[in-house]
Symmetry: C2
DNA sequence: TATAATTAAATTGTACTCAATCGAATTGAG
DNA sequence: CTCAATTCGATTGAGTACAATTTAATTATA
C-alpha cells in the first residue's frame, strides 16, 4: 500500500478548510465593530433575532442559530447581565425559558444598523459573487 | 429616526451567518469520523499539513492554517502527547519551535485517507457547485 | 559593542462550541 | 390515574479561538 495516493488529504483539496478559515476571518472583522456595542459575534447574531422577533424561547433560538443550550445558556445570561434581554420561565410550561428584548437592547439597534454597511466590501467579492456564495451556503446547510 | 429601515439587520440578509453555520455544521460531521482517529477537527487539519511537509515551525503552520500560537501551542502539545508529532527548538534559532511528524503520526495517514470519501456528498452540493463554492471562499480569503 | 527593536512561542483571560449528562416538568399509554 | 418516555434548559468537561501580554532569543543601529 505504499503507492497509496494521498492527494485527497492535501489541505488544498479540502472544501471544509476555506469554509472554516473564511468563517473565522469574517467573525474577526466583525469584532472590531462589535466591541463598540460590547457584543461578541455570537451575541450579535442572537441580537439580530431579538430585534426581529422581540421574544423567543431557547429551543427556537437554537434552531434559528444552529446552536444548543450549552452555548446559549451562558450567552443569554451574559446578554441579560448587559441589560439587553430579560429571561423568565413560561407560565404555561415551566420547562420553557422565554427571552425577551429590553428597551436597552432595542436602543442598541440604532448603533448596530451601521455595521452591515461597514462590513460591505470587506470580503473581496463582487455583489454577484456574494449572492452566489450565499445561495450555495444555504443549499449546503439544508 | 423611528422610520429607520432595519432590513440590513435581518439574520437572513447576512452573508456571515450561513458561512459561520455551515462551517460549524461540516466540522460537526467530521467529528464522527475523526473520533476513530482520536483527533479533533483542528488537530486533523494540522495533521493534513504534517502529512504533506513532515516538519514545520509554529509560525509557518499558523500561516497555513490562519491560526496563532494561542491556539497552536496547546494543540501541538496534545498531538505530541498522542505521539503523532515531536516538538523541539531549532538549533539555529532557539526562538523557533520545530514540529515533526512521528512514525505513529505517519501511520495515521492510512486510516485518514478514507475520510474525504466518507465526507463526500455530506453537503448536498453537486461537484460543480462544490468547485464554485471552493473558488469563492478562496477568493474571499485572499 | 551596548542597547533598542524585532521576532517567535508561550501564557493569560474571556468566550464560545458541542457532546454527554442531569434534573425538573410535561405528556402519553395502559 | 400512574409510571415510563419525552422534552427543555442547565451543567460539565475538553478543546478551541483570539487579543493582549510576557519571556527569551536574535538582529540592527548608534
Amino acid at each position: 500500500m505504499s503507492d497509496q495516493n494521498y492527494d485527497v488529504l492535501k489541505l488544498e483539496n479540502q472544501l471544509c478548510f476555506p469554509l472554516y478559515a473564511c468563517s473565522r476571518q469574517i467573525i474577526r472583522k466583525y469584532h472590531k465593530y462589535l466591541d463598540e456595542l460590547n457584543l461578541t459575534y455570537t451575541q450579535y447574531i442572537a441580537m439580530l433575532v431579538f430585534w426581529e422577533v422581540r421574544k423567543i424561547n431557547v429551543k427556537e433560538l437554537g434552531k434559528r442559530l444552529y446552536l444548543d443550550s450549552g452555548t446559549l445558556t451562558p450567552l443569554l445570561k451574559s446578554l441579560e447581565e448587559k441589560g439587553y434581554v430579560r429571561r423568565y420561565r413560561s407560565k404555561e410550561d415551566e420547562r420553557v425559558l422565554l427571552v425577551e428584548i429590553t428597551d436597552s437592547g432595542d436602543a442598541l439597534r440604532e448603533q448596530a444598523v451601521t455595521i452591515p454597511e461597514k462590513m460591505n466590501g470587506c470580503m473581496n467579492l463582487t455583489p454577484e459573487e456574494a449572492v452566489t456564495l450565499y445561495q450555495l451556503l444555504y443549499k449546503a446547510l439544508s
